[in-house]
Structure formats: structure tokens, C-alpha cells
């Protein structure tokens, strides 16, 4: 049995190619059905996301999975095989296991450490299970990939830092307030980026999102999005002390919030921390306001620096994650080998036990019933003999399996002891 993966991703194929190969969730069952009829393929799973399309199969040793899968992929999408061939990668056995583990652990993602891929892989697995395309060998590799992904998440910090500006803002808010439940947010200006950040904050549990904007229409539109209230643009500072997070993105050419205003606001808040996010250019909040106690002021450059640091730290963590993956690949291979050897080992033990019990029976016929003591002694003696006979070939089989050269020996062993019959 061999494992093979063929597919393409954001590094090997541009979006024009990826979109032609993408498989919708509705089309998945029929594709899996067709895959079952590819000669030599015993199990299959299809993973299709915006960044990758991959087919993973378990197939017979003799099957040329590379051409079979490339041909299948082209045919099923009505494309020229020669057109997609340059974009495809193909992995077999150890490399295929490693690839699957890396994908699950989000090491092969466009944004390393992003968490969605694991969910997408789980969906692909569920679809394959539902359509009966996955059952033994491939199943064990995929489920192992889920545990590897979990191990990578818990043992490294690969997914812990935000790598987008709007999400970095939410992460910083969490470091200031802890839980964001009930936090009050004010949007000054109704730009796209502040909407995105506000949406993240809302999802994280922010209690109220208020909006103020020079043009009341846009303020109203934004307030409707978040079911928030509108503050009057000319005197919103009167209510500023109630707000915990302020996102400023107005197009005003001067400071809307000065240090002196913030000083009063902080006194009214009794110095409770306040998070000011100034993503406007030119800036909306006087930079020296950040010198005030309890004021945490971040402008667009600061946020981008946070993101850059996080990207760098993710790369460091990815190195750690690769080590975990390498370790898990070795374990998986050892486990698969053990699984391959088990039927032969059990067969050999059963074969020897058959001889032993038949001989014991024959002896009872010849010498009549034995006393329980004699029976026990003979039983122990013959069992010890059979175990010693079995020990040498089993030990050698395991040794050979360790070096990967066990197939001939396995075959010879099965023939010598007639393990292939019956």
C-alpha cells in the first residue's frame, strides 16, 4: 500500500490556474465517486481551498499515482493535462505523509500559522468519510495529521500573534483590557479599515460601537452596520471618557484629539486605561497624548511594526513546528510498518501454536491422560520451544523493517511458513 498526494497551491500555481481546478463542496461527492474508479486507487480525499487543490490517495504498490492522478485531475476539470502538469507537485509515501502533516499544521499556508486550513482539512475528511472513500490506511494518516496540527498549536506559538493590522489592533486591546466583553468602542470617521477593526472587536465581545463622522449619512450607515449609536461630530469629546477604544480614521487635516483634551478625558475616567488607534494619515490624534498615564496610542506605523514582528516570530516558530512534524513523520512511518508486519507476526505465532497443540493432542492419544502436573510441565516446555523458534525470524523481520528493506524478507517468511494460504 502506498500513499500519494498530487495537487497545486499558491506557490506553484497562479490564481488563474487554481480557480480552474477548484472543487466546490457540492461537486465533491461525485469527484470522490469517480476517484474510486481510478485503477489501483483504494482510498481518496480531495482538499480544495482558495490556495490549494490536492488529491490524497492510498493506492496499490504497482499503481503509477503521479500520472493517474494528474490525468484524472485534468479530465475531471475538462483541462489539458499538459496545461496543468507544470503546476502540479507529487509526493509519495514518507514525503506525502510529511506534506499532509505540514498542511494540517499550517506550515504550507500562505500565511503560516493561520488556523482555517485545519477546519478545511477536517471538512475534506468528513466529505470523504461520508462518501465512503476513506477507511483504513489513508484514514489513519489524516487523523494523525489532525493530532500533529494540535501538537504544533500547543507546543509552539505559531498561531498566537496577529498578522493583519486590524487583527493586531484587537490583540493589543486584549493585552490592555483582558476580556473585551462590554468594552465601548468609538469610531471617528467611517473608513474601511476602521470598519474591519470594529468588526473584529465586535466579534471579540465589544459591548457597544458608537460612530461619529463629519458627514452624518456615512455615520448613520456605519452605525447601522453595528447597531450602534451616533455621536455628534462637533462635540463628541464630551462622551469620550465613556469609551475604552477609539479608532480614528477621519480625513481631517488637523488633530481631532489633542493632548489637553485627552488629559481631561483621562481625569474623568479616573485613569482607567484607554486604547487609541489612529489609522488616519495625516494623523487625527496628537502623538504626545501617548505620554499621558493610561493612554495607549498606536498609529498605523506602530500597528504595522507589531504585525512585522509577529510575522518574524511566526517564522521562528515555524522552525520549531517543522521539527515536530519531522518527529511525527518518523513515528507515523514506524506505526505503519508495525501495522504491515503485524499480520505476518500473528500468522507465524498461530502457525506454530497450531503445530504445538496438534502434537500435544497426538501425544495424549498415545500415552493416555496425563496428571495435571505433567500436563502443565509439558505445556510450558512446548510453548517455550515454539517461542524460541519464532523469536529469531520476528526479530530479524523487525530489524529489516527498520532499514526499510523488509519486503523480500517478509515475502520469504510468508512462503516458508505457508502464511499466504487459507
Amino acid at each position: 500500500m502506498r500513499l500519494a498526494i498530487t495537487g497545486l497551491n499558491h506557490t506553484t500555481a497562479p490564481v488563474e490556474v487554481r480557480e480552474r481546478l477548484a472543487v466546490s463542496a457540492d461537486a465533491l461527492p461525485s469527484l470522490l465517486y469517480d476517484l474510486r474508479h481510478v485503477p489501483g486507487v483504494t482510498e481518496s480525499m480531495v482538499l480544495s481551498t482558495c490556495n490549494r487543490v490536492e488529491i490524497a490517495v492510498a493506492a496499490d504498490e504497482q499503481c503509477d499515482t503521479e500520472s493517474a492522478l494528474a490525468g484524472f485531475l485534468a479530465k475531471s476539470r475538462n483541462l489539458e493535462e499538459a496545461w496543468i502538469r507544470p503546476h502540479l507537485y507529487h509526493f509519495r509515501d514518507r514525503d506525502a505523509i510529511r506534506h499532509m502533516f505540514r498542511v494540517a499544521a499550517s506550515l504550507d499556508s500562505m500565511i503560516v500559522g493561520e488556523p482555517q486550513i485545519l477546519g478545511q482539512l477536517k471538512d475534506a475528511y468528513d466529505a470523504a468519510r461520508t462518501s465512503g472513500s476513506i477507511n483504513g490506511f489513508l484514514d489513519s494518516v489524516v487523523t494523525r495529521a489532525f493530532s500533529v496540527a494540535k501538537r504544533v498549536r500547543t507546543e509552539t506559538e505559531i498561531g498566537q500573534s496577529a498578522v493583519s493590522v486590524s487583527y493586531a489592533a484587537v490583540e493589543l486591546a486584549r493585552q490592555i483590557f483582558g476580556s473585551l466583553k462590554g468594552t465601548k468602542v468609538l469610531l471617528i470617521g467611517a473608513g474601511k479599515m476602521s470598519e474591519l477593526a470594529a468588526r473584529h472587536l465586535e466579534r471579540a465581545g465589544a459591548g457597544e460601537i458608537a460612530v461619529t463622522n463629519r458627514s452624518p449619512e456615512r455615520a448613520r450607515a456605519m452605525a447601522e452596520l453595528f447597531r450602534g449609536r451616533i455621536l455628534d461630530y462637533t462635540n463628541f469629546t464630551g462622551q469620550l471618557h465613556e469609551m475604552d477604544v477609539v479608532i480614528a480614521s477621519s480625513g481631517a487635516p488637523h488633530f481631532i484629539l489633542t493632548r489637553d483634551q485627552m488629559k481631561k478625558v483621562m481625569a474623568a475616567r479616573r485613569n482607567r486605561p484607554m486604547f487609541l488607534i489612529d489609522i488616519a494619515v495625516p494623523r487625527n490624534i496628537e502623538p504626545s497624548a501617548s505620554e499621558l498615564d493610561g493612554v495607549f496610542l498606536y498609529d498605523i506605523d506602530d500597528l504595522q511594526r507589531v504585525v512585522q514582528n509577529n510575522v518574524t516570530s511566526r517564522q521562528t516558530e515555524a522552525g520549531e513546528a517543522e521539527k515536530i512534524v519531522a518527529d511525527e513523520v518518523e513515528r507515523m512511518i514506524a506505526r505503519l510498518k508495525a501495522r504491515e508486519l503485524t499480520p505476518t507476526i500473528v500468522g507465524l505465532q498461530q502457525y506454530l501454536e497450531g503445530i504445538r497443540s496438534a502434537e500435544m493432542e497426538r501425544m495424549r492419544g498415545r500415552f493416555g491422560n496425563l496428571t495435571p502436573q505433567q500436563e502443565e510441565a509439558l505445556d510450558a516446555l512446548t510453548k517455550a520451544m515454539m517461542n524460541k523458534i519464532a523469536h529469531a525470524p520476528i526479530a530479524e523481520l523487525r530489524r529489516q523493517a527498520g532499514s526499510g528493506q523488509h519486503h523480500h524478507f517478509l515475502d520469504a517468511l510468508r512462503r516458508i511458513f505457508h502464511l499466504n494460504e487459507g
Binding site: I176, F177, G294
Partner: protein, 274 residues
């Protein structure tokens, strides 16, 4: 009853009423929102009135302003602070001052009421249990204050980190400021309550044990100073919202004074073993 006795009687009743103010302060600090202010204010006003009666009685009995000794002057001072608070409250509705002044006035009035000794312990078991309770409360209070100081320092580091916008992996695992703030408020509130109860227990114990001799002792002065600093810290935090550097320095000062108090009191042990 002679007028001097009457004076101390009214003062003791006033102390009991002032205790309502202390309870208000304790509940406010623990709940972190004003609690039972109205009844406490009524009790405080009544106590202040009785305090005036007590001072007047004493004045008439001796013909002198009752500020002749430590006890009388502390009592008088407590009375004046009470009047001052009632005036400020009536004029400016400055209610949050109560968290600071109610416990202070209570403790000062209690101190003033220990001028006339009471009969000594009737039961040795009660005497040692009382002392044990005082020591246990003090130690628990210190533990809470040390926790406050540690959390304040971590708050300071985390605040610096967020202010300077430096990502340092060493401090990445620090809890959020909000969480630390909660922890500081809780541990400080608890520390204050424990220390207040411990001070009251200690004062009454010393009063019954040795009449008025204890008051001149330096370690008593250090203990009261520590409690007062703790009270100041609680007040500045709850009403002025002191956080960050100021709060860290304040809590370290209180812990430092607590250590001094403890060191001064360890010397007491051989004396008590007699």
C-alpha cells in the same frame, strides 16, 4: 457616674456608631462601588454628635479643653475631622472621601476611648485566642499586600511594554492590564480589610492587656503608620484612580512599612512568652 466616666461612655457609644462608617468603607472597597453610604452617613453624624457630647462633658468636668494628653487630643482631632467631613459633604457632596475618612475617624476615636483602662482579662484562653486572631489577620493582610505589590510591578512592566510598543518575547506572557488591575483591586481591598481588623484587634488587646502603657511604644506608632498608608493607598486608588508607577511605588511603600512593623513586633515575642 462622674462626668469623666460619662464622657468616656459617650465616646465609646460614638465609636460603636463610627464602626458603621468603617463597615461602609470595607464593603465599598471590596465591592468596588459605593455601598450603604446613607445609613453609614446617618450613623457617622449621630456618632459625631455623641462625640461632641463626650468632649463637652469632659470640658465641663475639668474646666479645660480636653487636649491634655495623647488620648484626648486624638479624640478631639477625630471629632474635628468628622465635623470637617460632614461640612464638606453638605457643601460639595464629596462622598468618596468617606472611604478614607470613616475608617480614620473610627480608629482615632477608638484610640481616644482607651484612655480609661478596663479590668484585665477574666480568662487566659480568651487572651491568647484574641492575640492569635490579631497575628493571623496581620499575616493574611501582609500576604495580600505583597500580592498587591507584585501585581503592581507586573502592571508597570506590562504598561511600559505597551507604551513603548516593543515586542519582547520575555514579557509576552504577562497578563493583560485589565486582569492585573482586577487582581490589584481585589488583593488591595482584602489586605486593607484584614489589616484594619487586625489593627482593631491589636489595639483592643493591648488596651485590655496593659491599660495605657502601650501607646508610647514605637512599634505601635509604626503599625498605625502602616495602616494609615494602606488607607491612603486604598483611597487614592478608589477615588483618584492611581495606577501604574504611582500605584506601584505606593504599594511597595506599604509593603516596606509592613516589613518594618513585622520586624519591630518580632521583638515582642519573648515578652509575651513570660
Amino acid at each position: 457616674m462622674v462626668p469623666a466616666d460619662m464622657s468616656i461612655f459617650w465616646l465609646r457609644v460614638a465609636v460603636v456608631l463610627y464602626a458603621a462608617g468603617l463597615i461602609h468603607a470595607i464593603v465599598t472597597v471590596l465591592r468596588r462601588q459605593p455601598a450603604w453610604f446613607r445609613p453609614a452617613l446617618a450613623a457617622f453624624a449621630a456618632a459625631n454628635l455623641l462625640h461632641a457630647v463626650s468632649i463637652t462633658e469632659s470640658w465641663f468636668a475639668t474646666g479645660l479643653l480636653p487636649a491634655n494628653n495623647f488620648f484626648q487630643s486624638v479624640s478631639l482631632c477625630a471629632f474635628l475631622i468628622g465635623v470637617f467631613f460632614l461640612f464638606v459633604y453638605w457643601r460639595y457632596s464629596f462622598a468618596s472621601l468617606s472611604v478614607f475618612l470613616f475608617p480614620l475617624v473610627f480608629l482615632m476615636a477608638l484610640l481616644g476611648s482607651t484612655e480609661v483602662p478596663v479590668p484585665s482579662w477574666s480568662n487566659d484562653g480568651v487572651r491568647s485566642a484574641w492575640l492569635l486572631m490579631h497575628v493571623a489577620l496581620v499575616l493574611l493582610g501582609y500576604a495580600a499586600l505583597i500580592l498587591t505589590a507584585v501585581a503592581s510591578i507586573i502592571y508597570l512592566i506590562q504598561e511600559r511594554r505597551l507604551k513603548t510598543k516593543t515586542a519582547s518575547s520575555l514579557f509576552d506572557k504577562l497578563p493583560p492590564l485589565g486582569t492585573l488591575d482586577n487582581l490589584i483591586n481585589r488583593s488591595m481591598g482584602l489586605g486593607f480589610v484584614l489589616l484594619t481588623l487586625a489593627t482593631v484587634a491589636g489595639m483592643t488587646w493591648a488596651f485590655i492587656e496593659s491599660g495605657t502603657r502601650w501607646i508610647g511604644d514605637a512599634k505601635i506608632a509604626i503599625s498605625l503608620l502602616t495602616w494609615w498608608l494602606c488607607l491612603v493607598m486604598v483611597f487614592l486608588r478608589t477615588s483618584a484612580g492611581w495606577r501604574g508607577r504611582k500605584a506601584a511605588v505606593m504599594s511597595l511603600t506599604v509593603v516596606g512599612c509592613s516589613a518594618l512593623t513585622w520586624a519591630a513586633h518580632v521583638g515582642l515575642r519573648p515578652e509575651l512568652m513570660k
